[in-house]
């Protein structure tokens, strides 16, 4: 059973009815024409709905509790995974996880922001909001990868870096800045995938990459729609308007030249087909890594530099 989003009530009703009819008929009876008809109708409504998702609806899909998270991508794509812990300075922030492994047989360093999937794991991962030690761990892992010539793959899924007293105390801003700086200086390929929410500085710290991929219904923005609404409209309830105005969808960001590729999601969103989503993401990562394979360390740095410096230069206005 899915958790349905607000705008999915018609789908929820149809699918509820189908489940009910199936239960009434019992397992032995062949599925009636009525059920088949309903299933067809539900599939069509779902497809229609998801083709035309508004930016705010996408934000909700991107935050769907059943959406595959970094842990699912690590499990699905990385073999022989050896998690690595700690920043060697202060602690081990579980909002950022990472480690050594093999991606389609080739050694890589995989790093990602993890939100957690139930109360206990959400608390453990601090809802995917990293503290300075998280970013410093990421830097440590990226530098390790650089030293041993391993490509880095990062998975981005965060509402933003943690805005807390102790995070400030330990230099949240500096930690983010150094992490972005580290990304830009890597002599190995860096591929970033925005899998859910790409929230502000907390996201860019791991996404200043040679190739930035984004899932079809993921969002990537300078501030959350709620945050922008409360600052610019003085009303957090205007998040829907903020989501539209800021251009946070993969489709808009591809047009603006911010991301390189969009990874398609199954009809109804990644949460309706997690393994399919993870596999499609794997294919996109493989393509991106393959295109960077021939580049020497300096060429990789130049590639990243030119890519980011070019952003905005071809916009009209």
């Amino acid at each position: 059973m899915h958790s349905y989003l607000d705008f999915e009530t018609s789908i929820a009703e149809l699918e509820g009815k189908i489940a009910e009819l199936k239960a009434l008929a019992g397992g032995s009876v062949p599925i009636s024409d009525e059920v088949k008809g309903l299933e067809k109708k539900a599939a069509k409504s779902l497809a229609d709905l998801y083709v035309n998702l508004s930016p705010w609806q996408k934000a909700q899909v991107a935050r769907h509790p059943d959406r595959p998270h970094t842990i699912d991508y690590l499990q699905g794509l990385i073999t022989e995974f050896s998690p690595l812990s700690g920043d060697r300075k202060f602690g081990n922030d579980q909002a950022i996880i990472g480690g050594l492994g093999r991606f389609r047989d080739s050694p890589v360093m995989a790093i990602g922001l993890e939100k957690g999937h139930d109360t206990q794991s959400r608390l453990k991962h601090n809802f995917g909001m990293a503290r300075p030690e998280g970013y410093r761990k990421a830097v440590r892992l990226m530098e390790l990868a650089d030293r041993f010539g391993l490509p880095v793959v990062s998975f981005i899924d965060t509402a933003g870096a943690y805005p807390g007293i102790e995070a400030e105390e330990r230099g949240q801003a500096e930690a983010i800045a150094r992490s972005t700086d580290c990304c830009l200086g890597l002599g190995v390929p860096l591929v970033a995938v925005i899998i859910g929410e790409g929230g502000s500085g907390g996201a860019i710290a791991l996404a200043a990459a040679n190739s930035v991929l984004m899932l079809e219904h993921a969002i990537y923005s300078v501030i959350s729609p709620e945050g922008a609404a409360s600052i610019l409209w003085h009303d957090a309830g205007r998040a829907k308007d903020a989501a539209s105005a800021m251009r946070i969808t993969a489709q808009d960001l591809k047009r603006l030249g911010i991301i390189d590729d969009i990874v398609p999601e199954p009809v109804g969103g990644a949460h309706r087909g997690p393994s399919e989503t993870v596999a499609a993401t794997g294919d996109a990562i493989a393509r991106a890594l393959n295109s960077l394979r021939e580049l020497a360390p300096d060429a990789l740095r130049a590639h990243r530099r030119d890519k980011f410096l070019a952003i905005g230069s071809s916009l009209p206005g």
């Binding site: 007293i165 105390e169 801003a173 800045a177 700086d181 502000s200 860019i204 300078v222 409209w233 916009l315």
Partner: protein, 311 residues
């Protein structure tokens, strides 16, 4: 289009004869103590409130004049960028907000940069203007920072940044977020060229600016009492539902927590910068006579503080 391509922009100030917000014969209120100060007294004291020592904001051209020898510098021509590419509108149109800030400050955007000499040493200095949409970092400001840093690289001289910003300019959406890695690339170019990069953090500096180039300096200097942080205090209070401790995220707090090298009173700032930059560039020390001029705490030469002439 090549981003390096420079366009000479109309001198809005010249055309409109725009005036600074504060008439010179006005009384200014110290935001902390409520003390009233005569504008001219404030100006003569580098905008530090004489009694309380509160460091008021300084207009970017006045700041540049206060740093360069003989209050003279060459303005660095900043490139034109796409204006309002998202056609953004919140309660008001972004274009209207921009227009208003331009009129209010007489500047094209939130960064002003100049090159000149500081105690004879060639330097490039960029200043962020909080009065221009909270000093927010958008495409224009990001490009300005990069161009100023590259000017320092071309001139093979140190780069000094006076930071002041509420963070990213939300009206430019993701394009403002992209200025974080873009400006970081500028820092990397300074580093690769072996040139000193000194950040002076002024009140207030938060958000995407601290989380990128403003926290990547070789040396971090903060002005007394300046608010410096990643998340603004209001965001933290709202998120956590707590009252923040006194002095939280202030310059002195950051020094205590290892994020800035020193907190320097504005009267000593020029001398401090001069001393540090001369050491980093292996220049000989200034002769004692000139040095004495800068070490006095209240007697910065008034020539450097004369009212800004509009250019």
């Amino acid at each position: 289009m090549n981003w390096i391509k420079n366009f000479v922009r109309p001198k809005i100030r010249g055309l409109l004869g725009a005036k600074r917000e504060v008439p010179e014969n006005m009384w200014i209120k110290d935001p902390e103590t409520g003390q009233m100060v005569f504008y001219r007294d404030l100006e003569a004291n580098q905008f530090v409130v004489p009694g309380s020592g509160y460091h008021m904001r300084m207009a970017p051209d006045i700041r540049l004049k206060s740093m360069f020898d003989d209050a003279t510098y060459q303005t660095i021509t900043l490139p034109q960028v796409a204006v309002d590419p998202l056609k953004f509108r919140d309660e008001r149109r972004y274009l209207d907000r921009l227009k208003e800030s331009k009129q209010k400050t007489g500047q094209d955007d939130a960064v002003l940069a100049g090159s000149g000499t500081l105690d004879g040493l060639q330097v490039v200095i960029a200043v962020q203007d909080f009065a221009f949409m909270g000093g927010s970092l958008g495409m224009a400001a990001g490009e300005a920072i990069i161009v100023a840093m590259r000017t320092a690289v071309q001139k093979r001289c140190p780069f000094v940044l006076f930071a002041s910003s509420g963070g990213a300019r939300m009206q430019e959406g993701i394009l403002s977020l992209m200025q974080m890695p873009r400006t970081t690339l500028g820092v990397r170019e300074l580093r690769a060229a072996g040139l000193p990069y000194v950040v002076v953090l002024t009140h207030p500096t938060t958000g995407g600016v601290t989380a990128s180039y403003a926290m990547l300096g070789d040396i971090h200097i903060a002005e007394p009492g300046a608010l410096i942080g990643f998340a603004g205090p209001r965001v933290i209070e709202q998120t956590l539902g707590v009252k923040l401790p006194e002095g939280f995220q202030r310059a002195e707090y950051l020094e205590e927590h290892g994020m800035v090298d020193m907190v320097v009173h504005r009267h000593q700032l020029r001398g401090t910068l001069s001393r540090i930059l001369r050491i980093l560039t292996k220049e000989p020390p200034l002769p004692p006579l000139e040095k004495a001029e800068d070490s006095g705490d209240k007697s910065e030469e008034p020539a450097a503080l004369a009212p800004a002439e509009t250019d």
